[in-house]
């Protein structure tokens, strides 16, 4: 494709300036936040010389550490489950027709577009109702905690994994599987030696996204968490509402760095070589 799109000098210049401004808009606040997290000043947003004190405080703060460990537990476990469920769902939808597949397709899209708050309300009411029911019928008492948070995270992560894996499968020619079958591979072997290696980048990419989203979620988690299952974002959100502090700066930068790293890895995995087309 040619890059000369017959734009007049002025328009071209305006477009370039706009693009530069967009990137400044995206990255300047992040850069400043990173900078202030190293600032030796008790007031947030004022430069008082370089220090690592706030990061040290982050490492020593027991509450932050607890929240971090909850976050990691929830993220890893929900990612594991949603990768399995999301990948099988993607395979089923891309390679098979079955009763109810269109309904399933729609159901799989909804968690992506539904607003956080709505999903949070859904999960809260569902677990409340479920616990009431279990208490009334079996006399077993449950409470919100790690399990409810993890179950809720899986509910939205499945969709993200399946979307990424489906994109990979859609770009992969189905005749590759037919060719494997034609070359004496059983159904299982065709999957094992052709399909699976080719969708692995998508699966890895989806897993990293699921991790990212789980580690980022505030609203849904806040609704379904119980005592002792506060994740890091929920904890930080609570702190922010009480006011800014240099400690939050440091925690924020760590969270941001983790999510950017995961996103980059995910993009890298999805771009990995092997079979976008035959």
């Amino acid at each position: 494709m040619s890059t000369t799109k017959q734009l007049r000098g002025g328009a071209k210049w305006a477009l370039s300036v706009n693009a530069v401004l967009v990137y400044v808009f995206f990255y300047a606040p992040i850069a400043l936040l990173v900078m202030y997290s190293f600032s030796n000043d008790n007031l947030v947003g004022r430069w008082g010389g370089f220090t690592l004190d706030w990061y040290r405080a982050f490492g020593e703060n027991q509450e932050v550490q607890n929240a971090l460990s909850v976050s990691l537990k929830v993220a890893l476990f929900s990612t594991l489950i949603s990768v399995i469920l999301g990948t099988t769902a993607a395979l089923a939808l891309e390679r098979y027709r079955f009763r109810g597949n269109r309904f399933f397709d729609a159901l799989l899209y909804l968690p992506v577009i539904i607003p956080d708050v709505t999903m949070a309300v859904m999960m809260l009411l569902f677990f409340t109702q479920l616990f009431n029911f279990l208490d009334a019928v079996f006399g077993i008492r449950f409470a919100k905690g790690l399990a409810t948070v993890t179950l809720s995270h899986i509910a939205f992560s499945i969709s993200f994994v399946s979307i990424v894996v489906r994109a990979r499968l859609a770009g992969m020619n189905e005749t590759l599987e037919e060719a494997a079958r034609d070359l004496y591979a059983s159904r299982w072997k065709a999957f094992r030696y052709v399909t699976l290696p080719l969708i692995t980048p998508g699966v890895v990419g989806g897993a990293l996204l699921a991790l990212t989203i789980s580690l980022d979620d505030v609203v849904i988690t806040q609704f379904v968490a119980g005592p002792g299952s506060t994740t890091l974002p929920v904890y930080v959100f609570g702190l922010i509402r009480r006011g800014v502090s240099p400690l939050i700066n440091a925690v924020s930068v760590v969270m941001l760095a983790a999510s950017i790293l995961l996103v980059l890895l995910s993009l890298l995995a999805q771009r990995a070589r092997g079979g976008t087309t035959a």
Binding site: D182, Y184, R187, Y193, L198
Partner: protein, 364 residues
């Protein structure tokens, strides 16, 4: 027809329906061992579906499908002694050439060393020695095509199936591959079943051709039979170029053209049947009206030239006879002057060169 036991592929009453669509309609076909067999037709005619049924990638709705006398109708593709060269080659992008070619052997349980040795041999045969470690996307289209061939042939299939294998190549490469495929087939003595929509390709390469249209098998025969004795309008029109002239049967010796001209043409149809007379452009002669030869050997019509196209080796005239334009192709002879548009001329043809086909169905 060849005997059952010696047929490489034997298709009896095979029909394939996709929902309400009949993709292949009650096809009967015998493909002999060692034959280069083409299935020809426009897209959507059912040729690829037929090939896929032989491969086991689709199952017939009904009918019997045998390979060397053994029924395979419901066997999955991995249990059939045939291999396929796919339209876009379908090479595994995550494996190198050697792994691609030895894939079939490995799946059959051949040990790695033997499989590699045989694969290397086959890679040499298709003249790709030295490329074993490359990935498919590092090869040119022609090279990928040869890997696909090697990957199929290394398994020593009883029948090799090829689905438009040359479609993605440019003209020059395509002609080279045609020759190469043909000589490879002769060398190996295996039946090749070749699907194509390109009639010229089918005519050049095949021992026999099956013409399909709308899921039906219209005619099977060698290239010459198809060209000179098409069974109906569609085949006449699809194979090569032809003039199809509407006519009515007068009796078993005579037909009447639209302008009333009577043409001597022996035919099996009852009087009054609508037929079409197929007349190849190169079998029509053109000349001054006085030059028309005697009635007994040929038929003639008078007309006016409406256009002249010079093609180097030949000249194509469009001649308006009373009721329709006809194409006439004559060799271009250096130094011999040509007619110009507007010239009033006569055309005639030898009695043996016209061919009557029933008018029913298929209007090209």
């Amino acid at each position: 027809m060849t005997e059952q036991s010696t047929s490489a592929v034997s298709i009896n009453g095979v029909t394939k329906r996709f929902g309400d669509v009949v993709a292949v309609d009650n096809v009967n076909l015998e493909i002999a061992d060692g034959e280069f067999f083409a299935m020809l037709g426009p897209s959507g005619c059912g040729k690829t579906t037929t090939l896929r049924m032989i491969a086991g990638l689709e199952f017939p709705t009904e009918g019997s499908l045998q390979i060397f006398g053994e029924e395979v109708g419901t066997l999955p593709p991995n249990k059939r002694p045939v291999n396929t060269v796919f339209q876009n080659y379908a090479l595994f992008p995550h494996m190198n050439i050697l792994d691609n070619v030895s894939f079939g052997l490995r799946m059959k349980g051949v040990d790695k060393k033997t499989a590699s040795a045989q694969a290397n041999e086959m890679i040499d045969l298709v003249r790709l020695g030295g490329m074993e470690k490359r990935r498919p996307n590092q090869l040119s289209g022609g090279q990928q095509q040869r890997v696909a061939l090697a990957r199929a042939l290394v398994n020593k299939p009883k029948v090799l199936l090829l689905d438009e294998p040359l479609g993605a190549l440019d003209l020059k490469l395509r002609q080279d591959m045609q020759t190469e495929l043909k000589s490879l087939q002769r060398e190996l003595g295996v039946s090749f079943v070749f699907v194509t929509h390109d009639q010229e390709e089918a005519l050049t390469m095949s021992d026999r051709i099956a013409v399909m249209h709308d899921g039906q098998l219209l005619q099977v025969g060698n290239p010459e039979q198809l060209y000179s004795q098409p069974v109906n309008r569609f085949v006449a029109d699809f194979i090569g170029q032809t003039n199809l002239i509407d006519a009515t049967v007068a009796d078993d010796e005579m037909i009447v053209l639209a302008n009333g001209t009577k043409v001597r043409a022996p035919n099996p149809h009852p009087p009054g049947t609508k037929v079409a007379m197929s007349l190849r452009p190169e079998s029509i002669m053109i000349g001054d009206r006085e030059a028309v030869p005697s009635e007994s050997q040929s038929t003639s019509l008078s007309g006016v030239i409406s256009s002249v196209v010079y093609l180097g080796h030949s000249v194509v005239y469009t001649v308006n006879v009373d009721w329709m334009p006809l194409e006439v192709r004559v060799p271009a002879v250096a130094g011999v002057s040509r007619y110009e548009a507007g010239a009033e001329i006569a055309i005639w043809w030898d009695r043996l060169s016209d061919w009557i086909v029933p008018d029913e169905g298929y209007r090209g």
